[in-house]
């Protein structure tokens, strides 16, 4: 196996929690904070930290609005995030291919 592929994996996405967030957001145009938290079974604090990291990397954007007088936080994947996620998956697939016996 080419170790370079492994080293090229995006460190921001590779973390388990952030990978899960990116996977959910990649399949849905937008998800609320509550939907993400409930689907992944994360604590509010943990999810907030991961989303902030993804936001700082430009992979996720966060919108805060109000719905029925209640605050609603929605997250969506940015085009940069979508590209990074696609690249990450391509690299993973390469790693899997290379590890298969010929």
């Amino acid at each position: 196996m080419n170790p370079e592929n492994f080293l090229n994996l995006d460190r921001i996405i590779h973390e388990k929690g952030r990978l899960a967030i990116m996977s959910l957001l990649a399949a849905s145009p937008e998800l609320s904070f509550t939907e993400l938290r409930d689907t992944l079974g994360m604590t509010d604090g943990n999810l907030t930290t991961h989303i902030r990291t993804l936001q700082e990397a430009g992979y996720v954007s966060v919108a805060k609005t109000y719905q029925n007088n209640r605050p609603l936080t929605t997250c969506l994947i940015t085009s940069k995030g979508r590209k990074a996620f696609a690249d990450y998956i391509n690299l993973l697939e390469k790693i899997v291919q290379q590890s298969k016996p010929k």
Binding site: L25, E35, P71, V96
Partner: protein
């Protein structure tokens, strides 16, 4: 280097992406509500003797409107309770998947309502009503099956059940004297659309709660 982790990662990503695309509202209350409306409407239809096919079509179109509106109100309540958007992407996908078959069903219902007198020159009113139930069952079953690609898998099986019920009714009309029997088309609607939803809703009530726990 161990590379199973890469396959595991890909598998997890696939699962999460599928879960994200799924419609996740609790279906039990919606199904029970639709079933109750269907059964009540069937009883009322029999009691008030809404027998002419034109009236039958309009009556059940009105019932479906009540069921649909109530269902949407329940979905909206759930969304508000969870601080989520009502018209979410999964909800849109489900609506888009169901729309074509539902629109065709509506068109057939309106056609029967408008041209019922012409049809009755060739067929009796009950036969036309039963024919309409066959079409509605097939179309509704197909709509549920299409929506099932964005919902838990049980919906597709339920859709298949409704399609089969429609086909069985068609067979009974063609090969038996069902259309001349004393069974009211309202009773047939009550079973196919009312009782089936009630049964499915009760099943979901226990299984959804179990899954949550």
């Amino acid at each position: 280097m161990e590379t199973n982790w890469a396959e595991d990662h890909l598998q997890t990503i696939r699962l999460l992406m599928e879960r994200s695309a799924l419609y996740r509202r609790a279906l039990a209350p919606i199904s029970i509500y639709v079933g109750a409306v269907g059964v009540a409407a069937a009883v009322a239809g029999c009691a008030f003797k809404i027998d002419l096919s034109a009236k039958f079509a309009l009556y059940w179109l009105a019932v479906s409107l009540v069921a649909l509106t109530g269902g949407l109100v329940l979905v909206r309540r759930q969304a508000i309770r969870h601080s989520e958007t009502f018209w979410s992407p999964p909800t849109k996908r489900v609506a888009q998947a169901m729309a074509p078959a539902m629109v065709v069903g509506l068109a057939f219902g309106l056609m029967v309502a408008k041209w019922s007198a012409d049809f009755q020159e060739r067929y009796d009113s009950k036969f036309i009503s039963l024919g309409l139930i066959v079409l509605w069952s097939l179309l509704y079953g197909l709509a549920l099956h299409a929506a099932g690609f964005f919902m838990p898998r049980g919906i597709r099986l339920f859709g298949w059940g409704i399609v089969l019920a429609g086909l069985i009714l068609l067979g009974a009309m063609v090969w038996t004297d069902f259309s001349t029997s004393n069974i009211s088309p309202h009773a047939v609607m009550g079973v196919i659309f009312g009782a089936s939803h009630l049964a499915y809703g009760i099943y979901l009530y226990f299984t959804e709660r179990k899954n949550e726990a």
